[in-house]
Symmetry: C2
Subunit: 175 residues, 2 copies
Amino acid sequence: MNFNMKEATEVLERTPQTLEYFLTNVSEGWLQCNEGEGTWNVSEIIEHLIEGEKNNWIPRLEMILQEGENKPFPPFDRYSHLNERSNRSIEQKLFEFKVIRIQNITKLNGLIESPLYLERTGLHPEFGIVKLKELLSTWVVHDLTHIAQIVRVMAERYRADVGPWKEYLGILKRE
Amino acid sequence: MNFNMKEATEVLERTPQTLEYFLTNVSEGWLQCNEGEGTWNVSEIIEHLIEGEKNNWIPRLEMILQEGENKPFPPFDRYSHLNERSNRSIEQKLFEFKVIRIQNITKLNGLIESPLYLERTGLHPEFGIVKLKELLSTWVVHDLTHIAQIVRVMAERYRADVGPWKEYLGILKRE
Protein backbone atom coordinates (compact mmCIF):
# COMPACT_ATOMS: atom_id res chain seq x y z
CA MET A 1 0.00 0.00 0.00
CA ASN A 2 1.38 3.40 -0.95
CA PHE A 3 -1.26 5.91 0.10
CA ASN A 4 -0.32 8.72 2.41
CA MET A 5 -2.00 12.07 2.95
CA LYS A 6 0.96 14.21 1.96
CA GLU A 7 1.54 12.56 -1.41
CA ALA A 8 -2.16 12.25 -2.19
CA THR A 9 -2.61 15.95 -1.49
CA GLU A 10 0.29 16.78 -3.82
CA VAL A 11 -1.71 15.42 -6.76
CA LEU A 12 -5.07 16.83 -5.64
CA GLU A 13 -3.52 20.28 -5.29
CA ARG A 14 -1.88 20.24 -8.70
CA THR A 15 -4.59 18.87 -10.98
CA PRO A 16 -6.75 21.99 -11.46
CA GLN A 17 -3.93 24.37 -12.18
CA THR A 18 -2.21 21.82 -14.42
CA LEU A 19 -5.37 21.57 -16.51
CA GLU A 20 -5.82 25.33 -16.39
CA TYR A 21 -2.37 25.82 -17.82
CA PHE A 22 -2.88 23.16 -20.48
CA LEU A 23 -6.32 24.24 -21.67
CA THR A 24 -6.57 28.01 -21.26
CA ASN A 25 -6.89 29.73 -24.64
CA VAL A 26 -6.66 26.59 -26.74
CA SER A 27 -8.78 26.46 -29.87
CA GLU A 28 -12.35 25.22 -29.72
CA GLY A 29 -11.34 22.31 -31.94
CA TRP A 30 -9.40 20.78 -29.03
CA LEU A 31 -12.21 21.42 -26.55
CA GLN A 32 -15.14 20.20 -28.63
CA CYS A 33 -13.70 17.04 -30.17
CA ASN A 34 -14.66 13.70 -28.64
CA GLU A 35 -14.14 9.99 -29.30
CA GLY A 36 -17.47 9.45 -31.05
CA GLU A 37 -21.11 9.44 -30.09
CA GLY A 38 -21.81 9.15 -26.38
CA THR A 39 -18.26 10.13 -25.39
CA TRP A 40 -17.18 13.26 -23.55
CA ASN A 41 -15.29 16.22 -24.90
CA VAL A 42 -12.68 18.06 -22.84
CA SER A 43 -15.15 20.62 -21.63
CA GLU A 44 -17.55 17.93 -20.39
CA ILE A 45 -14.71 16.19 -18.55
CA ILE A 46 -14.02 19.40 -16.61
CA GLU A 47 -17.74 19.63 -15.73
CA HIS A 48 -17.55 16.06 -14.45
CA LEU A 49 -14.55 16.92 -12.26
CA ILE A 50 -16.48 19.87 -10.78
CA GLU A 51 -19.48 17.63 -10.14
CA GLY A 52 -17.26 15.21 -8.21
CA GLU A 53 -16.00 18.06 -6.02
CA LYS A 54 -19.57 19.07 -5.23
CA ASN A 55 -21.31 15.75 -4.76
CA ASN A 56 -18.86 12.91 -4.45
CA TRP A 57 -15.61 13.09 -2.53
CA ILE A 58 -16.22 15.32 0.46
CA PRO A 59 -19.87 14.34 0.99
CA ARG A 60 -18.87 10.66 1.05
CA LEU A 61 -15.97 11.35 3.35
CA GLU A 62 -18.33 13.15 5.73
CA MET A 63 -20.75 10.24 5.57
CA ILE A 64 -18.03 7.79 6.54
CA LEU A 65 -17.12 9.93 9.52
CA GLN A 66 -20.72 10.56 10.58
CA GLU A 67 -22.50 7.33 9.72
CA GLY A 68 -19.79 4.72 9.40
CA GLU A 69 -21.31 1.53 8.02
CA ASN A 70 -24.85 2.41 9.12
CA LYS A 71 -26.07 4.04 5.93
CA PRO A 72 -24.93 3.55 2.31
CA PHE A 73 -23.62 6.55 0.34
CA PRO A 74 -26.24 8.06 -1.92
CA PRO A 75 -25.33 6.90 -5.43
CA PHE A 76 -23.24 9.37 -7.44
CA ASP A 77 -24.57 9.98 -10.93
CA ARG A 78 -21.48 10.01 -13.11
CA TYR A 79 -23.44 11.52 -15.97
CA SER A 80 -25.32 14.28 -14.16
CA HIS A 81 -23.09 17.03 -15.51
CA LEU A 82 -24.37 16.19 -19.00
CA ASN A 83 -27.87 17.27 -18.00
CA GLU A 84 -26.84 20.75 -17.05
CA ARG A 85 -25.06 21.91 -20.13
CA SER A 86 -23.86 25.39 -19.49
CA ASN A 87 -22.48 27.89 -21.89
CA ARG A 88 -19.64 28.90 -19.66
CA SER A 89 -16.20 29.15 -21.21
CA ILE A 90 -13.55 26.58 -20.44
CA GLU A 91 -11.69 29.25 -18.46
CA GLN A 92 -14.73 29.78 -16.21
CA LYS A 93 -15.09 26.03 -15.66
CA LEU A 94 -11.40 25.63 -14.88
CA PHE A 95 -11.60 28.49 -12.43
CA GLU A 96 -14.58 26.92 -10.66
CA PHE A 97 -12.75 23.60 -10.47
CA LYS A 98 -9.68 25.28 -9.00
CA VAL A 99 -11.63 27.20 -6.36
CA ILE A 100 -13.79 24.29 -5.23
CA ARG A 101 -10.76 21.98 -5.08
CA ILE A 102 -8.89 24.38 -2.81
CA GLN A 103 -11.95 24.57 -0.55
CA ASN A 104 -12.22 20.79 -0.51
CA ILE A 105 -8.57 20.25 0.39
CA THR A 106 -9.07 22.64 3.30
CA LYS A 107 -12.16 20.69 4.35
CA LEU A 108 -10.27 17.42 3.99
CA ASN A 109 -7.47 18.60 6.26
CA GLY A 110 -10.01 19.78 8.82
CA LEU A 111 -11.93 16.50 8.77
CA ILE A 112 -8.99 14.11 9.12
CA GLU A 113 -8.15 14.97 12.70
CA SER A 114 -6.07 11.86 13.22
CA PRO A 115 -4.34 9.34 10.92
CA LEU A 116 -6.56 6.73 12.58
CA TYR A 117 -9.52 8.23 10.71
CA LEU A 118 -8.04 6.86 7.47
CA GLU A 119 -9.06 3.37 8.60
CA ARG A 120 -12.69 4.34 9.24
CA THR A 121 -15.23 2.52 7.09
CA GLY A 122 -18.43 3.36 5.26
CA LEU A 123 -20.97 1.57 3.12
CA HIS A 124 -20.80 1.86 -0.66
CA PRO A 125 -24.11 1.06 -2.38
CA GLU A 126 -22.44 -1.45 -4.71
CA PHE A 127 -19.12 -2.41 -3.15
CA GLY A 128 -20.21 -2.78 0.46
CA ILE A 129 -17.70 -1.83 3.14
CA VAL A 130 -15.02 0.60 1.99
CA LYS A 131 -12.28 2.42 3.87
CA LEU A 132 -11.84 6.15 4.06
CA LYS A 133 -8.29 5.83 2.73
CA GLU A 134 -9.62 3.89 -0.27
CA LEU A 135 -11.98 6.77 -1.01
CA LEU A 136 -9.08 9.25 -0.85
CA SER A 137 -6.85 7.06 -3.03
CA THR A 138 -9.70 6.89 -5.53
CA TRP A 139 -10.03 10.67 -5.54
CA VAL A 140 -6.36 10.89 -6.61
CA VAL A 141 -6.60 8.17 -9.26
CA HIS A 142 -9.84 9.71 -10.53
CA ASP A 143 -7.89 12.93 -11.26
CA LEU A 144 -5.23 10.93 -13.10
CA THR A 145 -7.88 9.00 -15.06
CA HIS A 146 -9.44 12.18 -16.35
CA ILE A 147 -6.14 13.83 -17.23
CA ALA A 148 -5.40 10.69 -19.26
CA GLN A 149 -8.86 10.89 -20.82
CA ILE A 150 -8.38 14.54 -21.81
CA VAL A 151 -5.16 13.89 -23.70
CA ARG A 152 -6.56 10.70 -25.24
CA VAL A 153 -9.60 12.58 -26.57
CA MET A 154 -7.33 15.24 -28.02
CA ALA A 155 -5.02 12.65 -29.59
CA GLU A 156 -8.00 11.00 -31.26
CA ARG A 157 -8.51 14.16 -33.27
CA TYR A 158 -5.20 13.52 -35.08
CA ARG A 159 -5.72 9.79 -35.62
CA ALA A 160 -5.74 10.14 -39.39
CA ASP A 161 -3.24 13.01 -39.45
CA VAL A 162 -0.31 11.03 -38.04
CA GLY A 163 -0.38 8.65 -41.00
CA PRO A 164 1.74 5.52 -40.52
CA TRP A 165 3.09 6.67 -37.13
CA LYS A 166 -0.20 5.51 -35.61
CA GLU A 167 1.57 2.21 -35.03
CA TYR A 168 4.03 3.76 -32.55
CA LEU A 169 1.52 5.85 -30.63
CA GLY A 170 0.08 3.84 -27.78
CA ILE A 171 -2.56 6.45 -27.06
CA LEU A 172 -4.26 5.70 -30.40
CA LYS A 173 -4.60 2.02 -29.66
CA ARG A 174 -8.25 1.44 -28.81
CA GLU A 175 -8.97 -0.86 -25.89
CA MET B 1 -7.84 15.62 -41.48
CA ASN B 2 -7.63 18.11 -38.63
CA PHE B 3 -4.00 19.20 -38.52
CA ASN B 4 -3.17 22.86 -38.71
CA MET B 5 -0.07 24.71 -37.56
CA LYS B 6 -1.82 27.03 -35.12
CA GLU B 7 -3.60 24.29 -33.18
CA ALA B 8 -0.62 21.92 -33.26
CA THR B 9 1.58 24.67 -31.86
CA GLU B 10 -0.91 25.31 -29.06
CA VAL B 11 -0.23 21.83 -27.70
CA LEU B 12 3.53 21.85 -28.34
CA GLU B 13 3.83 25.16 -26.51
CA ARG B 14 1.86 24.02 -23.48
CA THR B 15 3.27 20.55 -22.77
CA PRO B 16 6.52 21.44 -20.98
CA GLN B 17 5.04 24.01 -18.65
CA THR B 18 2.02 21.80 -17.96
CA LEU B 19 4.35 19.02 -16.86
CA GLU B 20 6.50 21.48 -14.97
CA TYR B 21 3.50 22.64 -13.01
CA PHE B 22 2.31 19.09 -12.37
CA LEU B 23 5.63 17.59 -11.31
CA THR B 24 7.66 20.30 -9.59
CA ASN B 25 8.23 19.51 -5.92
CA VAL B 26 6.25 16.28 -5.89
CA SER B 27 7.58 13.47 -3.72
CA GLU B 28 10.14 11.03 -5.05
CA GLY B 29 7.57 8.27 -4.70
CA TRP B 30 5.60 9.71 -7.64
CA LEU B 31 8.73 10.21 -9.75
CA GLN B 32 10.40 6.86 -9.15
CA CYS B 33 7.46 4.49 -9.41
CA ASN B 34 6.98 2.56 -12.65
CA GLU B 35 4.70 -0.12 -14.07
CA GLY B 36 7.07 -3.00 -13.43
CA GLU B 37 10.38 -4.22 -14.80
CA GLY B 38 11.42 -2.67 -18.09
CA THR B 39 8.94 0.20 -17.84
CA TRP B 40 9.73 3.88 -17.45
CA ASN B 41 9.26 6.08 -14.43
CA VAL B 42 8.13 9.70 -14.72
CA SER B 43 11.68 10.98 -14.66
CA GLU B 44 12.70 8.69 -17.53
CA ILE B 45 9.69 9.82 -19.57
CA ILE B 46 10.87 13.43 -19.28
CA GLU B 47 14.35 12.34 -20.44
CA HIS B 48 12.74 10.66 -23.44
CA LEU B 49 10.85 13.86 -24.30
CA ILE B 50 14.12 15.82 -24.17
CA GLU B 51 15.80 13.23 -26.39
CA GLY B 52 13.04 13.65 -28.98
CA GLU B 53 13.57 17.41 -29.00
CA LYS B 54 17.28 16.90 -29.63
CA ASN B 55 17.34 14.04 -32.11
CA ASN B 56 13.94 13.38 -33.56
CA TRP B 57 11.46 16.07 -34.56
CA ILE B 58 13.48 18.99 -35.87
CA PRO B 59 16.30 16.88 -37.39
CA ARG B 60 13.72 14.84 -39.31
CA LEU B 61 11.85 17.93 -40.38
CA GLU B 62 15.11 19.40 -41.71
CA MET B 63 15.85 16.16 -43.53
CA ILE B 64 12.48 16.26 -45.26
CA LEU B 65 13.13 19.82 -46.39
CA GLN B 66 16.74 19.17 -47.46
CA GLU B 67 16.67 15.62 -48.78
CA GLY B 68 13.04 14.88 -49.58
CA GLU B 69 12.67 11.22 -50.41
CA ASN B 70 16.34 10.78 -51.37
CA LYS B 71 17.67 9.58 -48.04
CA PRO B 72 15.91 7.79 -45.18
CA PHE B 73 15.85 9.37 -41.71
CA PRO B 74 18.50 7.97 -39.40
CA PRO B 75 16.62 5.66 -37.03
CA PHE B 76 15.64 7.24 -33.71
CA ASP B 77 16.53 5.12 -30.71
CA ARG B 78 13.53 5.37 -28.44
CA TYR B 79 15.50 3.93 -25.55
CA SER B 80 18.70 5.95 -25.80
CA HIS B 81 17.84 8.17 -22.83
CA LEU B 82 18.02 5.08 -20.64
CA ASN B 83 21.73 4.73 -21.40
CA GLU B 84 22.57 8.16 -20.11
CA ARG B 85 21.11 8.08 -16.66
CA SER B 86 21.78 11.39 -15.08
CA ASN B 87 21.36 12.46 -11.53
CA ARG B 88 19.72 15.72 -12.37
CA SER B 89 16.59 16.65 -10.45
CA ILE B 90 13.19 16.52 -12.12
CA GLU B 91 13.13 20.32 -11.98
CA GLN B 92 16.35 20.53 -14.00
CA LYS B 93 15.02 18.07 -16.57
CA LEU B 94 11.73 19.92 -16.88
CA PHE B 95 13.62 23.17 -17.33
CA GLU B 96 15.75 21.68 -20.10
CA PHE B 97 12.64 20.32 -21.81
CA LYS B 98 10.96 23.73 -21.62
CA VAL B 99 13.95 25.60 -23.03
CA ILE B 100 14.65 23.21 -25.89
CA ARG B 101 10.96 23.09 -26.82
CA ILE B 102 10.79 26.88 -27.08
CA GLN B 103 13.88 26.83 -29.29
CA ASN B 104 12.38 24.10 -31.45
CA ILE B 105 9.08 25.93 -31.94
CA THR B 106 11.06 28.95 -33.07
CA LYS B 107 13.02 26.75 -35.49
CA LEU B 108 9.80 25.16 -36.70
CA ASN B 109 8.24 28.51 -37.48
CA GLY B 110 11.38 29.56 -39.33
CA LEU B 111 11.55 26.38 -41.38
CA ILE B 112 7.92 26.26 -42.53
CA GLU B 113 8.14 29.22 -44.86
CA SER B 114 4.96 28.32 -46.70
CA PRO B 115 1.93 26.12 -45.94
CA LEU B 116 2.89 24.18 -49.07
CA TYR B 117 5.89 22.81 -47.16
CA LEU B 118 3.47 20.78 -45.03
CA GLU B 119 2.91 18.51 -48.02
CA ARG B 120 6.63 17.83 -48.56
CA THR B 121 7.69 14.21 -48.19
CA GLY B 122 10.56 12.29 -46.70
CA LEU B 123 11.64 8.70 -46.32
CA HIS B 124 11.07 6.89 -43.04
CA PRO B 125 13.33 3.85 -42.56
CA GLU B 126 10.34 1.62 -41.78
CA PHE B 127 7.25 3.34 -43.10
CA GLY B 128 8.58 4.57 -46.45
CA ILE B 129 7.21 7.87 -47.73
CA VAL B 130 5.82 10.17 -45.04
CA LYS B 131 4.56 13.74 -45.17
CA LEU B 132 5.95 16.64 -43.20
CA LYS B 133 2.49 17.32 -41.75
CA GLU B 134 2.30 13.70 -40.57
CA LEU B 135 5.59 14.21 -38.73
CA LEU B 136 4.24 17.36 -37.06
CA SER B 137 0.94 15.68 -36.13
CA THR B 138 2.98 12.86 -34.62
CA TRP B 139 5.01 15.33 -32.57
CA VAL B 140 1.76 16.59 -31.03
CA VAL B 141 0.30 13.14 -30.38
CA HIS B 142 3.65 12.01 -28.98
CA ASP B 143 3.33 14.74 -26.32
CA LEU B 144 -0.20 13.59 -25.51
CA THR B 145 0.92 9.94 -25.36
CA HIS B 146 3.56 10.71 -22.79
CA ILE B 147 1.32 12.90 -20.66
CA ALA B 148 -1.08 9.94 -20.61
CA GLN B 149 1.79 7.61 -19.73
CA ILE B 150 2.91 9.82 -16.84
CA VAL B 151 -0.49 9.84 -15.16
CA ARG B 152 -0.97 6.12 -15.87
CA VAL B 153 2.36 5.28 -14.20
CA MET B 154 1.39 7.39 -11.20
CA ALA B 155 -2.07 5.79 -10.99
CA GLU B 156 -0.47 2.34 -10.98
CA ARG B 157 1.12 3.21 -7.66
CA TYR B 158 -2.33 3.30 -6.03
CA ARG B 159 -3.69 0.16 -7.71
CA ALA B 160 -4.08 -1.67 -4.42
CA ASP B 161 -4.94 1.44 -2.43
CA VAL B 162 -8.19 2.21 -4.23
CA GLY B 163 -9.68 -1.11 -3.10
CA PRO B 164 -12.92 -2.02 -4.89
CA TRP B 165 -13.04 1.27 -6.86
CA LYS B 166 -10.49 -0.24 -9.24
CA GLU B 167 -13.48 -1.39 -11.25
CA TYR B 168 -14.53 2.18 -12.07
CA LEU B 169 -11.09 3.54 -12.88
CA GLY B 170 -10.34 3.05 -16.56
CA ILE B 171 -6.71 4.03 -16.11
CA LEU B 172 -6.08 0.89 -14.03
CA LYS B 173 -7.38 -1.44 -16.70
CA ARG B 174 -4.35 -3.08 -18.25
CA GLU B 175 -4.32 -3.41 -22.02
